[in-house]
């Protein structure tokens, strides 16, 4: 095994590096960018440029006729003033979006962590069986999962209504809970938490495996109870993973669209259950007010970015990236 001067692996010492010809140094400098180019171009064209475009649209009174003519119609911040001063935003849409997201994130995290801690106490076989089962809950697509929940809660023929009927609590078909804002969102919460907790559980479970066993033993020797062990060994050990889980589920739960849109009345026909995503969509594609829809979409994006940045600042350290 002879290491020739031709070996392209970067030599460790400084004098050797100086001998690398300029051309090869350039190629080596360009190599990562060549590899990155397709991905960066796609992301720029498909994510960054539309992001710029949606901001531009939000400053216009862009309607179907502008779409057909292909012209622009700048009106400054008019859409934003309209949205931000509308009673509908503050009394309905924002509470629906924020309240729903907060409840979903808290519940998803709680259920996910409890399930992970529980799975961690099980033997190998049972743990695999349970993991496979919760994987099923995770895997069911949002579209079909939502229809299953709508069917379970069907006011006339669904399982829940008929169970309540059999128990004598209420008569099946007597009340359409999808019309009620609170009941609608309770069902949506069940759907979203059911769909979301497996990711948290599986990720936290994987994280629990990385916490050194000796730490628990040491804590137990020091007389720490289960709660103290959890607080001072488990939580710090899986903190980066918890941070990622909280960030991701907050983002997901703020922009929930499919699970709301596919519920009865959720597509914009029942305005009392609209959230930001559905409002933006229905302004654009049902009313043809693309400018207005874009302004709402921009608000949603800004809200998410602010939350993400605040989270990353507080929950993650630089070196964990």
């Amino acid at each position: 095994m002879t290491v020739g001067t031709e070996a392209p692996s970067p030599p460790a010492t400084a004098p050797a590096r100086r001998r690398v010809p300029v051309r090869r140094r350039l190629t080596r400098g360009a190599a990562p960018w060549v590899l990155l180019a397709p991905a960066l171009i796609l992301l720029a064209v498909l994510l960054l440029w539309p992001l710029v475009r949606v901001v531009m649209l939000s400053l216009q009174d862009y309607r179907l006729r502008n779409l057909i003519r292909g012209d622009s119609n700048y009106v400054g911040l008019e859409n934003f003033t309209k949205v931000l001063t509308s009673d509908f935003l503050w009394s309905t849409v924002l509470p629906n979006t924020v309240g729903f997201a907060v409840v979903c994130v808290v519940l998803t995290m709680l259920v996910g962590i409890v399930v992970a801690l529980f799975l961690n106490t099980l033997g190998r076989a049972w743990r695999s069986i349970c993991t496979a089962a919760i994987m099923v809950a995770w895997a069911v697509p949002a579209i079909t999962g939502t229809y299953v929940f709508v069917w379970l809660f069907d006011p006339l023929n669904g399982l829940v209504a008929n169970t309540l009927d059999a128990l004598g609590i209420m008569e099946a078909g007597s009340w359409n809970w999808f019309d009620d804002r609170w009941a609608f969102y309770a069902i949506a919460t069940a759907n979203v938490v059911y769909h979301g907790f497996p990711f948290i559980a599986v990720t936290v479970l994987a994280g629990l495996g990385t916490v050194p066993r000796e730490l628990y033993e040491a804590a137990a020797l020091d007389g720490a109870g289960a709660v103290t062990r959890f607080r001072s060994v488990t939580v710090p050990g899986i903190r980066p993973i918890l941070a990622v889980c909280i960030i991701l589920s907050t983002i997901w739960d703020f922009k929930v669209f499919t699970q709301i849109y596919l519920m009865p009345g959720g597509d914009g026909t029942n305005r009392s259950v609209m959230n930001l995503g559905v409002w933006s969509y229905s302004e654009s594609f049902a009313q043809g007010l693309y400018g207005m829809g874009s302004a709402i979409a921009v608000l949603l994006t800004v809200l998410l970015l602010v939350i993400s940045v605040v989270y990353m600042r507080t929950l993650m350290k630089e070196d964990e990236l």
Binding site: R53, I241, A297, E320
Partner: protein
């Protein structure tokens, strides 16, 4: 030894065992019940009359036959499969190259590129429906499967890059150097050393891209306005709005859509979990 033996018989120990048993039953029950309810409705000859009964009335495949052949789901399945496979192949190739760049090279702006990849995952894609719809309309990409593939690439790429990066980093650098020493050039090393070793990661990532494309709803709803171009999600919604009370058929269609995804998920679960944490914590 003596204490362990007596502990096994102690009531506290029994309580723990019963508690664990109940926990397992609860997890299995809650996780699988909606799926069971979907399956059992799909094969029930009279789902509307089922009431609170946990078992279906009987067994029939009529609902499946109806949605597949009369309601056109065979066609929707084909559209979805084409879109999902194209997304998987292109995004796997592009993401692998990018992840090698960020995992193996030290270059200026590397951290910034990583932050960018992380940040674009936070852009709510729902917010981009409007500009992308207008763009696709101008480029005559509405009602085209290719248009949808292009959009789904943007969805699956950031996660795929982030995820694959962990797998590429896990390959020992010494193996690459050994290949160079043996006279291989970069591309030779890539195909005979790196690629085989990151294949498990590639499989997990591809499954994820597949599921992203297969499950996606809002863009498919917006872009595909002709019935012949519907993907399964849009097909299901259209079918549901036209046959609201036909729960047997809706659940049969849901089963057809959900089963491939569930099978994929359960198959790659181990790799998926390790990939996620690698992406999350590896430096």
């Amino acid at each position: 030894m003596r204490t362990a033996a007596s502990a096994r018989r102690s009531p506290r120990r029994t309580a723990v065992r019963v508690g664990k048993f109940l926990g397992v039953v609860l997890i299995l029950g809650v996780s699988l019940f909606p799926f069971y309810w979907m399956l059992s409705t799909a094969v029930d000859p009279n789902p509307l009359g089922r009431g609170a009964s946990l078992l279906p009335h009987g067994f029939t495949l009529e609902h499946f036959r109806f949605v597949l052949f009369d309601a056109g789901f065979v066609h929707y399945l084909k559209n979805s499969a084409v879109v999902a496979l194209a997304t998987v192949l292109i995004s796997a190739a592009v993401a692998l190259l990018a992840s090698v760049a960020v995992a193996r090279f030290r270059f200026r702006l590397r951290t910034q590129v990583l932050i960018l990849v992380l940040l674009v995952q936070m852009v709510p894609l729902e917010a981009l429906v409007i500009p992308l719809f207008l763009q696709a309309r101008n480029l005559h990409l509405l009602n085209s499967l290719a248009g949808l593939v292009v959009v789904y690439l943007a969805f699956s790429l950031p996660f795929a890059i982030w995820n694959l990066r962990g797998f590429v980093q896990a390959v020992p650098k010494e193996l690459e150097e050994a290949a160079y020493v043996d006279g291989a050039n970069w591309s030779r090393m890539f195909f005979s050393v790196l690629l085989p070793l990151v294949t498990p990661g590639l499989v997990a990532t591809s499954v994820f891209s597949f599921i992203t494309a297969w499950d996606e709803f809002i863009f498919a709803l917006t872009f595909m306005q002709e019935g012949s171009k519907y993907t399964v999600g849009v097909g299901l919604r259209t079918f549901f709005t036209q046959n609201t009370a036909n729960w047997g058929a809706v659940m049969a269609a849901s089963t057809i859509i959900a089963v491939p995804v569930v099978i994929f998920f359960v198959l790659v679960q181990g790799r998926l979990a390790s990939g996620l944490t690698q992406g999350a914590v590896k430096g």
